[in-house]
Point group: C2
Chain length 157, copies 2
DNA sequence: GTTGCTGCAAATCCTTTGCAAGGTT
DNA sequence: AACCTTGCAAAGGATTTGCAGCAAC
Protein backbone atom coordinates (compact mmCIF):
# COMPACT_ATOMS: atom_id res chain seq x y z
CA UNK A 1 0.00 0.00 0.00
CA UNK A 2 2.16 2.81 -1.31
CA UNK A 3 1.70 6.43 -0.44
CA UNK A 4 1.05 7.75 -3.86
CA UNK A 5 1.24 11.42 -4.73
CA UNK A 6 -2.03 10.99 -6.63
CA UNK A 7 -3.95 10.01 -3.54
CA UNK A 8 -2.49 12.96 -1.68
CA UNK A 9 -3.65 15.30 -4.43
CA UNK A 10 -7.12 13.88 -3.99
CA UNK A 11 -7.01 14.66 -0.32
CA UNK A 12 -6.03 18.22 -1.11
CA UNK A 13 -8.94 18.57 -3.48
CA UNK A 14 -11.24 17.14 -0.84
CA UNK A 15 -10.09 19.90 1.43
CA UNK A 16 -10.58 22.66 -1.14
CA UNK A 17 -6.88 23.25 -1.53
CA UNK A 18 -5.59 23.83 -5.03
CA UNK A 19 -3.26 21.44 -6.72
CA UNK A 20 -0.42 23.63 -7.93
CA UNK A 21 2.93 22.87 -9.45
CA UNK A 22 4.94 23.62 -6.29
CA UNK A 23 2.65 21.44 -4.21
CA UNK A 24 3.01 18.61 -6.69
CA UNK A 25 6.75 18.83 -6.45
CA UNK A 26 6.79 18.94 -2.69
CA UNK A 27 4.47 15.97 -2.43
CA UNK A 28 6.49 13.99 -4.96
CA UNK A 29 9.62 14.82 -3.02
CA UNK A 30 8.37 13.64 0.36
CA UNK A 31 6.59 10.61 -1.05
CA UNK A 32 9.74 9.33 -2.70
CA UNK A 33 11.39 8.04 0.45
CA UNK A 34 9.91 6.79 3.71
CA UNK A 35 12.39 8.76 5.81
CA UNK A 36 11.75 11.54 8.23
CA UNK A 37 12.39 15.01 6.90
CA UNK A 38 12.34 18.65 7.89
CA UNK A 39 11.12 21.73 6.09
CA UNK A 40 14.73 22.61 5.45
CA UNK A 41 15.33 19.22 3.86
CA UNK A 42 12.58 19.93 1.38
CA UNK A 43 13.88 23.45 0.72
CA UNK A 44 17.31 22.02 0.04
CA UNK A 45 15.98 19.49 -2.45
CA UNK A 46 13.68 21.95 -4.19
CA UNK A 47 15.69 25.16 -4.10
CA UNK A 48 13.61 26.77 -6.85
CA UNK A 49 10.54 26.72 -4.60
CA UNK A 50 10.22 29.54 -2.11
CA UNK A 51 10.79 28.71 1.53
CA UNK A 52 7.45 30.20 2.48
CA UNK A 53 5.67 27.91 0.07
CA UNK A 54 7.40 24.88 1.50
CA UNK A 55 6.52 25.81 5.06
CA UNK A 56 2.95 26.65 4.12
CA UNK A 57 2.48 23.44 2.18
CA UNK A 58 3.85 21.29 4.96
CA UNK A 59 1.46 22.93 7.37
CA UNK A 60 -1.45 22.12 5.09
CA UNK A 61 -0.30 18.53 4.78
CA UNK A 62 0.00 18.27 8.52
CA UNK A 63 -3.50 19.65 9.02
CA UNK A 64 -4.73 17.08 6.53
CA UNK A 65 -2.99 14.29 8.47
CA UNK A 66 -0.91 13.45 5.42
CA UNK A 67 2.27 14.10 7.32
CA UNK A 68 2.85 14.18 11.01
CA UNK A 69 5.60 14.97 13.44
CA UNK A 70 7.70 12.32 15.08
CA UNK A 71 10.19 12.72 17.89
CA UNK A 72 13.65 11.47 17.06
CA UNK A 73 15.99 9.80 19.53
CA UNK A 74 17.97 13.04 19.85
CA UNK A 75 14.86 14.92 21.02
CA UNK A 76 14.47 16.69 17.72
CA UNK A 77 11.27 16.69 15.73
CA UNK A 78 10.84 15.79 12.11
CA UNK A 79 8.00 15.09 9.75
CA UNK A 80 7.09 11.81 8.26
CA UNK A 81 4.53 10.89 5.68
CA UNK A 82 1.89 9.31 7.79
CA UNK A 83 -0.67 8.32 5.26
CA UNK A 84 -1.22 5.05 3.57
CA UNK A 85 -3.96 6.64 1.57
CA UNK A 86 -7.02 4.97 0.22
CA UNK A 87 -6.74 5.11 -3.54
CA UNK A 88 -10.45 5.55 -4.10
CA UNK A 89 -11.39 8.16 -1.58
CA UNK A 90 -8.07 9.80 -1.03
CA UNK A 91 -8.72 9.47 2.66
CA UNK A 92 -5.98 8.45 5.02
CA UNK A 93 -6.17 4.88 6.25
CA UNK A 94 -4.01 5.58 9.24
CA UNK A 95 -6.23 5.73 12.30
CA UNK A 96 -6.23 9.01 14.15
CA UNK A 97 -4.54 7.29 17.04
CA UNK A 98 -1.36 5.52 16.12
CA UNK A 99 2.27 5.22 17.10
CA UNK A 100 5.58 5.42 15.31
CA UNK A 101 8.45 3.06 14.86
CA UNK A 102 11.47 5.04 13.73
CA UNK A 103 14.52 3.25 12.37
CA UNK A 104 17.65 4.53 14.07
CA UNK A 105 19.68 3.75 10.97
CA UNK A 106 17.67 5.03 8.02
CA UNK A 107 14.89 6.94 9.86
CA UNK A 108 12.20 5.01 8.02
CA UNK A 109 8.93 5.40 9.89
CA UNK A 110 6.32 2.70 10.21
CA UNK A 111 2.96 2.99 11.93
CA UNK A 112 1.45 0.64 14.38
CA UNK A 113 -1.22 0.25 16.93
CA UNK A 114 -1.16 -2.38 19.61
CA UNK A 115 -4.17 -3.11 21.71
CA UNK A 116 -1.95 -4.49 24.43
CA UNK A 117 -0.21 -1.17 24.84
CA UNK A 118 -3.44 0.77 24.96
CA UNK A 119 -4.73 -1.49 27.67
CA UNK A 120 -1.63 -1.20 29.79
CA UNK A 121 -1.47 2.57 29.45
CA UNK A 122 -5.03 2.96 30.58
CA UNK A 123 -4.44 0.57 33.44
CA UNK A 124 -1.85 3.03 34.75
CA UNK A 125 -4.58 5.36 35.98
CA UNK A 126 -5.00 3.37 39.12
CA UNK A 127 -1.69 1.61 39.44
CA UNK A 128 1.10 4.12 39.71
CA UNK A 129 0.72 5.12 43.36
CA UNK A 130 -1.28 8.27 43.14
CA UNK A 131 0.93 10.15 40.71
CA UNK A 132 -1.14 9.40 37.65
CA UNK A 133 -4.43 11.23 37.24
CA UNK A 134 -7.12 10.91 34.65
CA UNK A 135 -5.41 9.78 31.47
CA UNK A 136 -6.30 11.83 28.41
CA UNK A 137 -3.93 10.69 25.73
CA UNK A 138 -0.48 9.32 25.15
CA UNK A 139 2.34 9.28 22.66
CA UNK A 140 4.69 6.42 21.95
CA UNK A 141 7.74 6.31 19.72
CA UNK A 142 9.61 3.05 19.29
CA UNK A 143 13.18 3.29 18.05
CA UNK A 144 14.34 0.23 16.20
CA UNK A 145 16.52 -1.05 13.44
CA UNK A 146 14.03 -1.72 10.70
CA UNK A 147 13.88 -5.14 9.04
CA UNK A 148 15.68 -3.84 5.97
CA UNK A 149 18.54 -2.29 7.95
CA UNK A 150 18.87 -5.32 10.19
CA UNK A 151 19.60 -7.40 7.12
CA UNK A 152 22.07 -4.90 5.73
CA UNK A 153 23.90 -4.36 9.00
CA UNK A 154 24.11 -7.75 10.65
CA UNK A 155 25.42 -7.92 14.20
CA UNK A 156 29.07 -8.85 14.19
CA UNK A 157 29.13 -12.51 15.18
CA UNK B 1 11.07 13.66 47.95
CA UNK B 2 11.56 17.25 46.89
CA UNK B 3 13.98 18.40 44.24
CA UNK B 4 16.15 20.62 46.33
CA UNK B 5 18.48 23.20 44.83
CA UNK B 6 21.14 22.00 47.26
CA UNK B 7 21.22 18.53 45.82
CA UNK B 8 21.46 19.96 42.34
CA UNK B 9 24.43 22.05 43.37
CA UNK B 10 26.09 18.87 44.60
CA UNK B 11 25.56 17.28 41.25
CA UNK B 12 27.18 20.25 39.57
CA UNK B 13 30.18 19.99 41.86
CA UNK B 14 30.40 16.28 41.13
CA UNK B 15 30.65 17.21 37.47
CA UNK B 16 33.34 19.85 37.99
CA UNK B 17 31.01 22.69 37.12
CA UNK B 18 31.21 25.80 39.26
CA UNK B 19 28.41 26.90 41.49
CA UNK B 20 27.90 30.53 40.56
CA UNK B 21 25.30 33.08 41.51
CA UNK B 22 23.46 32.94 38.17
CA UNK B 23 23.36 29.16 38.27
CA UNK B 24 21.98 29.25 41.79
CA UNK B 25 19.22 31.57 40.68
CA UNK B 26 18.33 29.50 37.65
CA UNK B 27 18.21 26.31 39.67
CA UNK B 28 16.10 27.93 42.38
CA UNK B 29 13.78 29.21 39.71
CA UNK B 30 13.17 25.90 37.99
CA UNK B 31 12.99 23.95 41.23
CA UNK B 32 10.23 26.13 42.60
CA UNK B 33 7.44 24.68 40.49
CA UNK B 34 7.00 21.23 38.97
CA UNK B 35 5.83 22.62 35.63
CA UNK B 36 7.43 22.35 32.26
CA UNK B 37 9.41 25.38 31.17
CA UNK B 38 11.42 26.74 28.29
CA UNK B 39 14.64 28.69 28.18
CA UNK B 40 12.61 31.77 27.40
CA UNK B 41 10.47 31.21 30.48
CA UNK B 42 13.58 31.32 32.62
CA UNK B 43 14.89 34.39 30.81
CA UNK B 44 11.59 36.14 31.44
CA UNK B 45 11.67 35.34 35.15
CA UNK B 46 15.32 36.25 35.57
CA UNK B 47 15.75 39.18 33.20
CA UNK B 48 18.95 40.32 34.88
CA UNK B 49 20.71 37.14 33.82
CA UNK B 50 22.07 37.03 30.30
CA UNK B 51 20.24 34.88 27.80
CA UNK B 52 23.42 33.07 26.90
CA UNK B 53 23.97 32.10 30.51
CA UNK B 54 20.46 30.71 30.77
CA UNK B 55 20.84 28.64 27.63
CA UNK B 56 24.28 27.43 28.63
CA UNK B 57 23.15 26.51 32.13
CA UNK B 58 20.12 24.60 30.90
CA UNK B 59 22.35 22.64 28.57
CA UNK B 60 24.60 21.71 31.45
CA UNK B 61 21.62 20.65 33.55
CA UNK B 62 20.34 18.55 30.70
CA UNK B 63 23.70 16.85 30.26
CA UNK B 64 23.68 16.13 33.97
CA UNK B 65 20.19 14.59 33.71
CA UNK B 66 18.85 17.16 36.13
CA UNK B 67 16.38 18.40 33.59
CA UNK B 68 15.10 16.67 30.52
CA UNK B 69 12.95 17.41 27.56
CA UNK B 70 9.35 16.32 27.34
CA UNK B 71 7.04 16.43 24.35
CA UNK B 72 3.86 18.37 24.94
CA UNK B 73 0.49 17.49 23.42
CA UNK B 74 0.91 20.27 20.86
CA UNK B 75 4.15 18.70 19.56
CA UNK B 76 6.29 21.31 21.21
CA UNK B 77 9.15 20.49 23.50
CA UNK B 78 9.79 21.84 26.96
CA UNK B 79 12.07 21.08 29.83
CA UNK B 80 11.10 19.58 33.12
CA UNK B 81 13.11 19.00 36.25
CA UNK B 82 13.64 15.29 36.08
CA UNK B 83 15.52 14.65 39.21
CA UNK B 84 14.32 13.52 42.55
CA UNK B 85 17.83 13.79 43.82
CA UNK B 86 19.44 11.77 46.51
CA UNK B 87 20.22 14.16 49.32
CA UNK B 88 23.39 12.38 50.33
CA UNK B 89 25.13 11.82 47.08
CA UNK B 90 23.48 14.45 44.95
CA UNK B 91 22.94 11.75 42.40
CA UNK B 92 19.68 11.50 40.53
CA UNK B 93 17.37 8.79 41.70
CA UNK B 94 15.43 8.79 38.49
CA UNK B 95 16.47 5.75 36.51
CA UNK B 96 18.05 6.45 33.16
CA UNK B 97 15.02 4.92 31.51
CA UNK B 98 11.74 6.46 32.57
CA UNK B 99 8.60 7.97 31.14
CA UNK B 100 6.65 11.16 31.65
CA UNK B 101 3.14 11.93 32.72
CA UNK B 102 2.35 15.50 31.77
CA UNK B 103 -0.71 17.22 33.16
CA UNK B 104 -2.69 18.86 30.37
CA UNK B 105 -3.97 21.48 32.79
CA UNK B 106 -0.97 22.63 34.83
CA UNK B 107 1.86 20.87 32.92
CA UNK B 108 3.13 19.22 36.09
CA UNK B 109 5.40 16.34 35.14
CA UNK B 110 5.63 13.10 37.05
CA UNK B 111 7.96 10.20 36.31
CA UNK B 112 7.06 6.60 36.10
CA UNK B 113 8.21 3.26 34.93
CA UNK B 114 5.91 0.35 34.37
CA UNK B 115 7.22 -3.13 33.86
CA UNK B 116 4.06 -4.07 32.02
CA UNK B 117 4.71 -1.45 29.36
CA UNK B 118 8.31 -2.49 28.91
CA UNK B 119 7.24 -6.05 28.40
CA UNK B 120 4.61 -5.20 25.86
CA UNK B 121 6.89 -2.91 23.89
CA UNK B 122 9.53 -5.55 23.60
CA UNK B 123 6.97 -8.11 22.62
CA UNK B 124 6.24 -5.96 19.57
CA UNK B 125 9.43 -7.12 17.90
CA UNK B 126 7.78 -10.26 16.70
CA UNK B 127 4.14 -9.35 16.67
CA UNK B 128 3.53 -6.44 14.35
CA UNK B 129 3.59 -8.25 11.00
CA UNK B 130 7.12 -7.65 9.86
CA UNK B 131 7.17 -3.89 10.18
CA UNK B 132 8.99 -3.80 13.48
CA UNK B 133 12.68 -4.60 13.50
CA UNK B 134 15.09 -4.92 16.36
CA UNK B 135 13.83 -2.63 19.09
CA UNK B 136 16.47 -0.31 20.51
CA UNK B 137 14.59 2.09 22.71
CA UNK B 138 11.28 3.83 23.14
CA UNK B 139 9.73 6.99 24.43
CA UNK B 140 6.35 7.30 26.11
CA UNK B 141 4.53 10.42 27.22
CA UNK B 142 1.22 10.08 28.99
CA UNK B 143 -1.03 13.13 29.02
CA UNK B 144 -3.37 13.28 31.96
CA UNK B 145 -5.12 15.55 34.38
CA UNK B 146 -3.01 15.22 37.47
CA UNK B 147 -4.61 14.24 40.79
CA UNK B 148 -4.46 17.82 42.04
CA UNK B 149 -6.09 19.28 38.93
CA UNK B 150 -8.75 16.57 38.85
CA UNK B 151 -9.85 17.69 42.29
CA UNK B 152 -9.84 21.37 41.37
CA UNK B 153 -11.66 20.91 38.09
CA UNK B 154 -14.33 18.28 38.71
CA UNK B 155 -16.26 16.97 35.76
CA UNK B 156 -19.56 18.76 35.40
CA UNK B 157 -22.14 16.31 36.69
C1' DG C 1 46.89 31.97 39.53
C1' DT C 2 44.43 29.07 36.64
C1' DT C 3 40.49 27.96 34.69
C1' DG C 4 35.87 28.53 33.92
C1' DC C 5 31.79 31.64 33.83
C1' DT C 6 29.20 35.83 32.62
C1' DG C 7 27.17 39.24 29.83
C1' DC C 8 26.79 41.67 25.86
C1' DA C 9 26.28 41.95 21.09
C1' DA C 10 26.47 39.87 16.80
C1' DA C 11 25.59 36.04 14.18
C1' DT C 12 22.86 32.12 12.89
C1' DC C 13 19.06 29.31 12.19
C1' DC C 14 14.28 28.39 11.66
C1' DT C 15 9.71 30.00 10.79
C1' DT C 16 6.14 33.38 9.84
C1' DT C 17 4.04 37.38 7.58
C1' DG C 18 2.89 41.30 4.16
C1' DC C 19 2.18 42.11 -0.30
C1' DA C 20 2.09 42.41 -5.32
C1' DA C 21 2.05 39.32 -9.24
C1' DG C 22 0.52 35.18 -11.24
C1' DG C 23 -2.06 30.69 -11.36
C1' DT C 24 -6.30 27.63 -10.58
C1' DT C 25 -10.96 26.56 -10.70
C1' DA D 1 -13.96 36.67 -12.63
C1' DA D 2 -13.10 35.31 -7.95
C1' DC D 3 -10.21 33.45 -5.07
C1' DC D 4 -6.04 31.04 -3.82
C1' DT D 5 -1.19 30.50 -4.07
C1' DT D 6 3.51 31.96 -4.97
C1' DG D 7 7.84 34.18 -4.17
C1' DC D 8 10.39 37.62 -2.32
C1' DA D 9 11.93 40.22 1.29
C1' DA D 10 11.35 41.62 5.84
C1' DA D 11 10.21 40.57 10.36
C1' DG D 12 10.25 37.65 14.24
C1' DG D 13 11.64 34.31 17.56
C1' DA D 14 14.91 31.05 19.40
C1' DT D 15 19.52 29.60 20.07
C1' DT D 16 24.58 29.88 19.53
C1' DT D 17 29.08 32.06 19.42
C1' DG D 18 33.12 35.42 20.11
C1' DC D 19 35.26 37.85 23.34
C1' DA D 20 36.80 40.79 27.16
C1' DG D 21 36.19 41.15 32.02
C1' DC D 22 35.18 38.83 36.33
C1' DA D 23 34.68 35.03 39.62
C1' DA D 24 35.25 30.33 41.64
C1' DC D 25 38.25 27.12 43.19
Amino acid sequence: MPRTPESIFKTLVNRNARVTAPRREIIDCISKVPRTFTAEDVCAQLPHIGRATVYRTLKILQDANIICKVVLPNDEMAYSVSADLDQESGVSRVPAHHHHAVCTVCTAVRYFNAEAIERVIHALSGSVQGVMGEIIDHRIEVYDICPRCVVQNPEPA
